[in-house]
Every structure is written in C-alpha cells, then in structure tokens.
C-alpha cells in the first residue's frame, strides 16, 4: 500500500519506493483540466439548448409592439403580465379545452395502463409458443407507419358517424402500448417464478397474484408509464387534429393552434401565444420531474434480470 507522500516534506531515501513526485500531481491536474474543459463545453452547449426556451419565456412578457420592434431586446423593457391573463380570455372555450384535455388524459391513461399491465402479465408469466409468436407480432406493430392506419381509421370512424367525438381518441388505448408492454414484460420477468408458484399453491388465482405480487414490484415502471403517457396526451396534437372539428371539443393543443391563426394587421399575437406555450409547458415539466427518478429505475435494456 502506498501512502501518499507530502511533497513538501523531504523523505529519507530508504523508505518504500514511491511514485515520482510529479506524476501524481500531473494526473490530478490533467483530470482537473479535462473536467473543466468538459464543464465548459457542456455549459456552452447547455446554454444553446436553453436559449430558445429562455427567449420564449422572456418574449412572452413583451408587449405586442416591442415584440415586433425592429430592434431586438432580450429582456422586455416592461413586464407585461397581462399577456398571461389574456391567454385565459383568448377564447370563450379556453377552460373547456383544458377540461377536455384532462378528461382525455385521465381516461386514456387509466385504460392504457390497465390494459398494458394485463397484457404484459400475460406475456411474462404464461409462456407458450403462441406467446412467443404473438410477442414478435407485438414488436412488429411498432413498425407500422402511422400513415397506413390513419386513412382507414378515419374512414371507419367517419362511417360509424363517430368523428368529432371522444371515441376515436380513446378506444385505441384498449390495446395498451407496445413499447410499455415490452418494458413491463422485462420487469415482470424479473420476479422469480418460485414466488409465483408458492402463491399459487396457497390458492391465489392468477389475477390475484397479478395484483398482490407482480404489480407492487413494478410500481416504478408503472408510474413511469402513467406519467409519460399523461405527458404525451397533454401535448397530443396530431391525433386529435384528424378527428375533432368543433372548437368546443378541442383539446388544449388544437385550441392553441386555433389561436395561432388569429391575426391583427397580419401579425399573430405572438407574446400571447408564447405565454400560452409557456403555460402549456409547465404541467409537462412538472410531470417530467415527477417521473424522472422513476424512469431510470424502470428501464433496463443493458442489464439483465432484476431483483
């Protein structure tokens, strides 16, 4: 064992051979320089990543004229908080949009998560040849281009007279999510079969085993799914765009899109729109921070079996 020598002290030559004075220091210096360089690079790029968002936030407090003024200023000269107030009064449907979106989120998340849990459980704990085949099919479904299903889906819903209702946006969640099914299956496989068999011998049915053993062990993954699914639906634009047409039925994304096309003198009310964007981003960010710790626990592509 080398003991660190104090370079300031002279040490008698007959002591244990020690490393030359400089290399220890040099290595530390090199590491330090390397770290500083990395920090600088990361910070610079980080600033570039954050800058658009920062500009958006600051611009949202500008007045209409200042935003369109020829000289660009980063910070608003006067902070117009009324831009944010105007977001709420921008349309008579505004709160309806928020309400619609919340309904969509709750229903979809519950349905999708519940479904995915069941399906993943099926794939994880009931191995048979059919299961392997169907799992390959499941994975392949992730490859079907959206365009292929978009056209006939629309036709079908139109023929069923259910466009402009919640059904096209809700029913597809019955199938769960292929991505999260995969993830849950990985997790559930990590639960040792012995425990499952022991419970079975105690008389617990498969359903009961699901909810008493499997689910509690998968809570991080499930929570991740819930949060990210909710985040996705909050910002969902391209899905409802096809089906919803009456302004009062829009979700928040479509609603903001409708506001985009309102112009005075040919110019959008950009500060108000940016304020709306900021407001819309806040729940997403909140959900992200909730989920972020859980995500790294839930996903495990590199490692093998857990627990």
């Amino acid at each position: 064992m080398q003991t660190a020598t104090d370079p300031m002290q002279a040490v008698p030559a007959e002591a244990e051979p020690r490393k030359p004075k400089n290399s220890f220091r040099g290595k530390k210096m090199r590491t330090l320089r390397k770290n500083i360089a990395f920090y600088i690079i990361l910070a610079l790029i980080g600033v570039m990543m954050v800058l658009p968002t920062a500009v958006m936030i600051f611009s949202s407090f500008k007045s209409f004229d200042e935003y369109y003024a020829l000289k660009f200023r980063f910070f608003p000269s006067v902070w117009h908080f009324d831009n944010y107030v105007r977001v709420f009064t921008s349309s008579e449907h505004f709160f309806t949009w928020v309400g619609n979106t919340i309904v969509l989120i709750v229903l979809n998340t519950v349905l999708c998560t519940f479904s995915t849990i069941l399906v993943a459980y099926g794939f994880a704990k009931f191995r048979c040849k059919l299961a392997d085949v169907l799992f390959m099919v499941l994975l392949c479904t992730m490859m079907i281009p959206w365009a292929v299903t978009m056209v006939p889906s629309f036709v079908v819903w139109a023929r069923l007279k259910l466009t402009d209702t919640i059904f096209p946006l809700l029913l597809p969640s019955i199938g769960g999510s292929a991505f999260y099914t995969f993830m849950f299956k990985q997790n559930m496989r990590g639960i040792p079969n012995e425990i499952m068999e022991a419970a079975e011998m105690d008389g617990a049915g498969s359903f009961k085993r699901l909810w008493t053993i499997v689910v509690p062990n998968c809570v991080p993954a499930i929570a991740t799914m819930v949060l990210f699914t909710a985040m996705g639906i909050w910002g969902d634009y391209l899905g409802p765009l096809i089906y919803l047409r009456t302004p009062s039925k829009f979700n928040i994304s479509l609603g903001l899109n409708m506001l985009r096309s309102q112009t005075t003198d040919g110019k959008q009310d950009a500060p108000m729109l940016l304020a709306a964007s900021v407001l819309m981003a806040i729940p997403s960010i909140a959900l992200y921070f909730l989920g972020t710790g859980l995500f790294s626990k839930g996903i495990s592509l590199q490692g093998g079996v857990k627990g």
Partner: protein, 290 residues
C-alpha cells in the same frame, strides 16, 4: 397437457385487450388500407376496385413522388445521425464529469418536454421573417435570413428536430454509458490506451444494444416524419411522404390514392428495417451472449 392448455387459455385471457385492440385498430385498418389502395374511394358511396391504377399513377404521374422520398431520407438521416452522435457525445461528457450530472441531463432534456404545439410556436417565432432570430441578426447589423425559404427550410427543420431530440437520446444513453464496467476501462488505461481507443473498443460495444435500439426507432420514426413540415411549411424543399399522404387523404379526400402512397412508405420502412437488422444485428454485442 392440461397445464399447457390452461396456460394458453390464461395467456389468451390476459392478452385479450391487446388482441382486440390490435385487431380493431392495427390489423383491420392495415388490411382495409391495402384493399383501399387498389380502389378509388373519395368518401362517396363505396370503394371501387381499380387494380394497380393508383400505384401506376403514383410512380408515373405524381409530380413530387420521388422528391417526397428524397426529402424524407434527407430529414431522417440528418436528424438520426445528428441526434445520435451529439447525444452520445454529451452522454460521455456528462458521464465523465464528477458533479452536476443530473443538472446537465435535465437541461438537455428540457427541450424535449415542451409539448409539440408549444415547441412549434416557439420555433415559428424564431424563424419568422420578422421573428426573433432575424431580430438578433438585425441587432448585429447582419441582414435578415429567410429561414423557411426553399434553400434553408430543411436545415431549419433539422435544427429544430435535433434540438428537441438530443435530450431523449441522452436519457437513454447516459445510463448505458454509466453501466460500462469501470474495471474494463481501467485495465485499458494500464495498457496505455488513449480515450478514443477506450471509447471505441470498450464503451461502444457495451452500449451497442441501446444504440442499436435508438437507431432503429429513429429510422422508423424519421421515415414517417411530418409534424415539423406540416407546421412550419417549406414547400417542396421539405414535403415528406407522410405529409403528402395526409394532404391527399384529409384535404383532397383521395382515400385510395393516399392508401397506395402509404403502403409504399410501409414497404420502404420494412426494407430499411430489415437491412439494418441484417447489417447491424451482427455488430451488436450482448454482454450476456443473448
């Protein structure tokens, strides 16, 4: 025997939500779409069989057919390469620094959290002729750049996508990079290997499953991109196949034609995916010899 049947029955029971969902919203639309692609259907009455006419028209008469695929490929390649390379680079950097890893990870992921429409409005106001970026350029005394004209539109859209896409890559690559066993790296240190060599021979193979997964997902997603083009425009410089399909289906209601177009995209995605699996699958190194 009996147990196996019971297993299958139970399996089917649990998997039934997916079966129903997949049949109704996956398999059935696919088959119907295939049928429609051989028909003429304009939302009036019933589809009418016309054989291969839609496909022939697409390949011969559709003015921007090849251009849409070219645009799609360009967009997909540019965004995939940029996000993966930059994502990997930043993951390695973040992994190497002693502190504040979480902080940087969050900062880089923030753009990805923005909801689609919010991000769109942000970049719309950045790229507009009298928007933020041109305002800054004006302050610096430089002339305005038209970010969304024919020459610049594709670059602008790629920048926007990469900005939003890097965070997601880092989120997945960082744990992977962090999981590379330290001993292996250190043993290479003793052999006197430099950082690049360590990276290529140890880190890269160990994270290759994740990289491969991200690559495939990006390729499949990139080939179907249409969101940024739809919102920010760009005309023929940026129109992608999926956007054109959307236009034909939802605006011109030429359902049969659009379905044919969509199936061509599907076949393309399949071919590209198969190529990547064949080519890349062998290069992926699975630590547990899977």
């Amino acid at each position: 025997m009996k147990r196996q049947t019971k297993t299958v029955v139970q399996f089917l029971g649990y998997v039934s939500p997916w079966l129903v969902g997949f049949s109704c919203f996956g398999l059935f639309p696919m088959v119907y779409s295939l049928y429609m692609s051989f028909c003429s259907y304009m939302m009036v009455g019933k589809p009418i069989w016309i054989g291969f006419q839609n496909f022939i028209d697409l390949f011969t008469k559709e003015r921007f057919f090849y251009k849409t695929f070219a645009n799609t490929f360009v967009f997909m390649t540019a965004t995939t390469v940029a996000t993966l390379v930059l994502g990997l680079l930043f993951s390695v950097l973040i992994n190497s620094i002693p502190r504040c890893k979480r902080f940087f990870q969050t900062v880089y992921y923030l753009p990805a959290i923005l909801p689609f429409i919010a991000g769109t409005m942000l970049w719309e106001s950045m790229y507009a002729r009298f928007g933020i970026l041109n305002g800054i350029l004006g302050n610096l005394g430089l002339g305005p750049i038209e970010f969304l004209n024919t020459n610049n539109a594709m670059t602008s859209l790629v920048v926007m996508s990469v900005w939003g896409g890097i965070g997601g890559k880092i989120t997945m690559l960082l744990p992977a990079v962090a999981a590379v066993p330290q001993e292996q790296l250190e043993s290479m240190d003793l052999d006197g290997a430099n950082a690049w060599s360590k990276f290529v021979h140890v880190t890269l193979p160990m994270i290759s499953p994740t990289l491969f997964y991200l690559l495939i997902m990006d390729i499949i997603g990139g080939l179907q991109a249409y969101g940024p083009m739809m919102m920010l425009g760009g005309g023929t410089a940026t129109i992608t196949a999926t956007l054109q399909i959307y236009n034909y289906a939802m605006i011109d209601h030429l359902m049969g034609y659009a379905s044919a177009y969509a199936w061509i995209v599907f076949v393309l995605v399949l071919i590209v995916t198969v190529i990547f699996f064949k080519f890349g699958g062998r290069k992926v190194y699975y630590a547990d010899g899977d």
